[in-house]
């Protein structure tokens, strides 16, 4: 029993000291930013020697977890609403919020040649299902609804709409062919500045409100050096270029 106790104490001490020595930042990242963030984190670790622990998921779930004490230092949301709310809740540092990326909406089909470069396929309506992200939850979904409303197509599209609970699932519906086409994030179908498969219409930004993705420093991380360094790193021109290559604007 005594031995167990000793081991436990030693272990805890070891844990505490290891945390103190290497600055480690835990980041909650919106699912749509997975690919660029992995690359950015790797570069950041190489440059600074800090350690980055990434969690990917739906922003709403992260919000709920952060409200209930999740140990994240930094939150990269898929919208600007949740970071604002976290500041109001007193769980994020006031004044630390900034837009790390603007999302680009794209009408995409897994079939080559199916979506024309002006998106006129929408008006013709020769399809059974069109996938969007849940507009209540995902800014990309809200932007898609806004676009359809502006084009006067919402009523015609409503019976054909299927909703993914987030933009990743929406992409999955379209890529498996279960929906012929859908509104997804350009970042999902773009690699190195090119749409890699299927056919796409990049929706002009003027047709919907901006899809602003904000980051915020959480109260848990306000004294974390690595968290602050990573925030500044995200604002550098080098990282901005990386972010743009994945189909975001900034």
């Amino acid at each position: 029993m005594k031995l167990l106790k000793m081991m436990f104490i030693t272990c805890s001490l070891l844990c505490i000291t290891s945390v103190a020595q290497s600055a480690e930042v835990h980041v909650a990242v919106a699912a749509n930013f997975t690919a660029p963030m992995k690359q950015i984190a790797a570069e950041f670790e190489k440059e600074t020697g800090h350690k980055v622990v990434l969690s990917f998921g739906a922003s709403g779930k992260f919000y709920a977890q952060i409200k209930n004490g999740a140990p994240f230092h930094l939150f990269l949301s898929a919208d600007d609403e949740k970071p604002i709310q976290l500041i109001k809740d007193g769980l994020a540092v006031d004044g630390s919020r900034f837009t790390y990326a603007n999302g680009t909406l794209v009408l995409w089909s897994a079939k080559p040649g199916y979506v024309d470069t002006k998106g006129e396929v929408l008006g013709r309506g020769h399809f059974n299902k069109i996938a969007i992200a849940n507009p209540k939850l995902a800014p990309y979904g809200a932007a898609a609804i806004e676009l359809l409303t502006k084009k006067g197509l919402l009523a015609a599209m409503t019976p054909k709409l299927v909703q993914g609970e987030n933009i990743s699932q929406t992409f999955q519906f379209v890529s498996t062919g279960n929906a012929e086409l859908g509104f997804v994030a350009l970042s999902q179908v773009m690699k190195d500045g090119k749409v890699t498969s299927g056919s796409a219409w990049v929706v002009p930004g003027a047709l919907h409100s901006p899809i602003r993705q904000d980051a915020v420093l959480l109260s848990v991380g306000k004294d974390n050096v690595a968290a602050k360094d990573l925030m500044n790193f995200l604002k550098t021109e080098k990282v901005k270029i990386t972010i743009r290559s994945y189909g975001y604007e900034n």
Binding site: G60, Y63, K82
Partner: protein, 225 residues
């Protein structure tokens, strides 16, 4: 109002789904359970394992394969479009089919146990009295397995109500067609509508408790009898 109309719609849809799935599984599960209980075939092990798979597989795996299989490029998708039904994902009947797979062990395993508990003797006695196998099943085995049927039906119904991952993967979240209660709660939480989430979640909690209470409170009596 305690629950709004979209919540009520989700509840109605969930009950309808669970009732249809239970009815289908009563018909489909009975011969499978009977065979598993009585057969001495070397296929008994593999078939039993396949039936039990949904117990251990994460819903994401099941949902992912169902999405591919029922999609336009999958085997089920080819079949349904050849039959003129069209693709099943994002439809109510797609959910029914998925739930039948997902809840299969909850029907088959209690029935199999019930059938096994009957033993050979009553069936042999019936046979000596010149009852046909089918007659024996309906007049001897079925009445004796009735408690098993009740357990299996309650578990299947409740498990289908509690389904989430598979529905999320193949449902497409369409109000009145595929937006069941568990998905509706998820939406409320994601949208930070915690008070609405609480209300619906409380309904689910009470319902699930009552179902299990019925099951456990009723079981010992049948043992005595």
């Amino acid at each position: 109002m305690f629950l709004d109309s979209s919540d009520l719609q989700a509840i109605f849809l969930t009950v309808k789904l669970a009732a249809i799935v239970t009815a289908i599984l009563l018909v489909v599960g009975t011969p499978i359970a009977w065979w598993l209980a009585r057969s001495r075939s070397r296929w008994k092990g593999p078939i039993g394992a396949i039936v039990a798979l949904p117990l251990v597989l994460p819903p994401s795996v099941l949902g992912f394969y169902l999405l591919l299989a029922m999609g336009p490029h999958g085997p089920v998708g080819h079949l349904t479009s050849a039959l003129g039904i069209g693709a099943l994902p994002f439809t109510f009947w797609g959910l029914v089919l998925a739930s039948v797979f997902y809840s299969l062990p909850f029907m088959v395993q209690p029935l199999q146990n019930a059938f096994e508990a009957i033993g050979d003797r009553p069936l042999e006695v019936a046979a000596t009295l010149r009852a046909s196998p089918l007659d024996t099943f309906f007049t001897v085995a079925l009445p004796m397995a009735l408690p098993g049927y009740l357990t299996a039906s309650i578990l299947t119904f409740a498990h289908t109500v509690g389904e989430f991952g598979v529905v999320l993967m193949i449902g497409g979240n369409i109000p009145g067609i595929t937006r069941v209660v568990s998905v509706q709660i998820y939406d409320h939480v994601e949208a930070m509508e915690y008070s609405q989430a609480h209300r619906l979640a409380a309904v689910m909690l009470v319902f699930s408790f009552l179902v299990l209470l019925t099951l456990y409170a009723w079981r010992p009596n049948t043992r005595k009898g």
